[in-house]
Subunit: 393 residues, 2 copies
């Protein structure tokens, strides 16, 4: 007998991840996959991490294996506070920081703490598919706001705020899926719009450290809007497999509720990994490590763009990222990237069609391409295969 009738409305409203759904197809060694969001293994400092393992087991013994506190390792939280204070002129202490089991958990916790069925959430159009997934569990109403080359459209944002909205979810740097970055002016404008509103701003920044073109820009809300939340992660600069991210908020009341939700979700994040990351950060030159990752990604992004110029029909447009891991391709009007997907797989190349990044849009003429996890020749060859397919349309 089916268990359908025992299921919650929440899980029935939660779409399975398209990306995770195609992992199997995309992991066929013959397939060139631009579908995932995998960092290049160059970003895992394996030898240094192993040295840190040796050091922490020797130095901290059973502490690295025992249960620990929900907030996270104080030393790691102090490192994060110091870094953000130094780079962005914030005034953070460890009490503003909660270690999370990857940024994905932060999205889960924010949904739990803020959303009842029918509450409003403003998201970018398009937005990160796993954020849609995490929030959908609570059956909110999504209000998508168009993402332009400058960032969220301010007028559409003001309109969307007419609705009973609990929070705004934004990825201002090298956005997933589009690769777009909010301009300084747009950030100020959004901050101005939100200043006296009773709403939480969630800034998700997994890729900010990976800017290979231009200078980092100030956050929209961090240090300015009292109800703002900033998300960060070690996934793109050290290791994603250890699922260690962090949530920053200067609103301690909000953070206290988020901590209760975390307690109930997994007690605390893997403490071995927290010691490991902290020891690695304390004993190595993170900037030099990040510089290597950025140089590689800049080159790979350029190779992908050059190949698209060479192999794609001129009717196909794409965004030019200043950092991060993705770019966004717009096909001619009326062409469904979703319908293209199985044909691409036949030609042994994979991407993520635009649909899962939108709320309620089907057969979008857009697709996300990842350029970080294939070498330059493979990127070139994959784009050539995709170009053949696009030219045959």
């Amino acid at each position: 007998m089916s268990i359908e009738h025992l299921l919650s409305d929440g899980i029935k409203a939660t779409p399975p991840s398209f990306v995770r759904g195609i992992l199997k197809a995309a992991s066929d060694p013959g397939v060139i996959s631009f579908a995932g969001g995998l960092p290049n293994p160059i970003s895992f400092p394996q030898e240094e991490l192993f040295e840190s393992m040796e050091r922490i087991v020797k130095t901290y013994g059973s502490n690295v294996f025992q249960y620990s506190v929900t907030a996270g390792l104080p030393e790691l939280r102090q490192y994060i506070a110091d870094r953000y204070n130094r780079v962005f002129g914030l005034n953070l202490t460890i009490d503003h920081i909660l270690i999370t089991t990857g940024s994905q958990q932060a999205l889960d916790l924010i949904g739990k703490v803020l959303l009842d069925k029918g509450d409003g959430v403003i998201v970018e159009k398009p937005t990160y598919l796993a954020a849609i997934q995490a929030f959908s569990m609570h059956q909110p109403v999504f209000y998508p706001v168009e993402l332009t080359e400058e960032g969220m459209d301010p007028e559409q944002l003001v309109d969307a705020l007419q609705n009973p909205v609990k929070f705004i979810y934004a990825i201002p740097d090298f956005q997933n899926p589009t690769g777009l970055t909010y301009s300084a002016r747009n950030r100020e404008r959004i901050c101005e719009i939100l200043k006296d509103r009773d709403v939480v701003l969630v800034e998700d920044d997994p890729y900010g450290e990976l800017r290979f073109d231009g200078e980092r820009l100030p956050y929209i809300g961090a240090g300015k809007l009292p109800n703002s939340i900033l998300l960060g992660t070690f996934s793109k600069i050290i290791t994603p497999g250890m699922r260690t991210g962090f949530l920053i908020s200067e609103n301690k009341e909000l953070l206290r509720y988020i901590s209760i939700a975390k307690e109930a979700s997994d007690l605390h994040t893997n403490i071995f990994s927290q010691y490991l990351l902290w020891d690695y950060l304390a004993n190595n030159d993170l900037e030099a490590h990040i510089a290597k990752i950025k140089a590689l990604y800049q080159k790979q992004a350029q190779v992908m763009m050059d190949a698209m110029d060479r192999y794609f029909p001129s009717t196909v447009k794409y965004t030019k990222p200043h950092g991060g891991m993705f770019l966004w391709v717009t096909l001619p009007e009326g062409v469904s990237a979703m319908s293209l997907f199985p044909k691409a797989l036949e030609r042994k190349v994979a991407f993520v069609p635009g649909d899962p990044f939108y709320i309620g849009i089907k057969n979008a003429n857009t697709m996300r391409l990842n350029y970080t996890n294939a070498d330059c020749e493979t990127i070139e060859e994959g784009i050539r295969r995709l170009g053949d397919l696009l030219k045959a349309l």
Copy 2:
């Protein structure tokens, strides 16, 4: 301005954990704490784990640091299937197993997949406080069923099943908080009661491997009830700090929904830790390791019981555990363990009062004592202090 009005009804219905709330007080080095549920560090095979770290980094390289699949490492899932098949005669394959970020995450996922506001959950009276916490997020109605020396009271269970219940949550071995174990007869009786009912049985078994007295008993539902879920963990036998547990269900439809909830919650569990545990298990004698833990816990439990016989007034009763980490003390009628708690802290000894293990009961005359994380002299001294307090009542 308070953010109270932005909070979800779910988080407002979720109690903070009493145990985590007193962690700070209980971690004062002068305080003898029977409050936590910390395994003894003897259960962390530190040297062997470090050898495994060296081996997996060398053998699997970037795979141990990269993103991975939601279901968990196939090799680890195969180990779990094989072990349960061997010990309990089940017929599990890796497709029946989902790796979770500790058993706490399993509780979170089960709540997400099965509970809408107002749905019924049958729990033991008393039950594990963090399960109450995880389920409360979904605002269910709890139907507590009295826990006797034999297990859940079958008649009360039948009565409770008259309500619109989604699942039953039970801890049949060395229950948390009481230390009680369901008898073989009671298990069969419950299985019989549930056989043709449209309800999920969740058997949480974090302590089953730690039986120091008698033989392991068959599960209530695993292998018998098609809608049953079995939870396990490596926290009590290898390391809790790595937050690695597992959820077993032969109902693949149910497991598929739970996997979607997991995807949305943290993508996947720390893959380094999964490789590490699997390598440790493949290269070491787990039974010999568990035997050491059991011998220690048996001794410590005995020391605590002997000390209670010596120092507690005869009006105070306690359960005699056959394994696990806790025992349960019943004070004379009308004595509130919660009121006793601050007085105990003054005498530098901590326990968990009964209240947070019940639904809506205040000033219960019960308390949970943990005997695994203090040496025998410390246990003796802590019980003496507690005895002085009880005699002064």
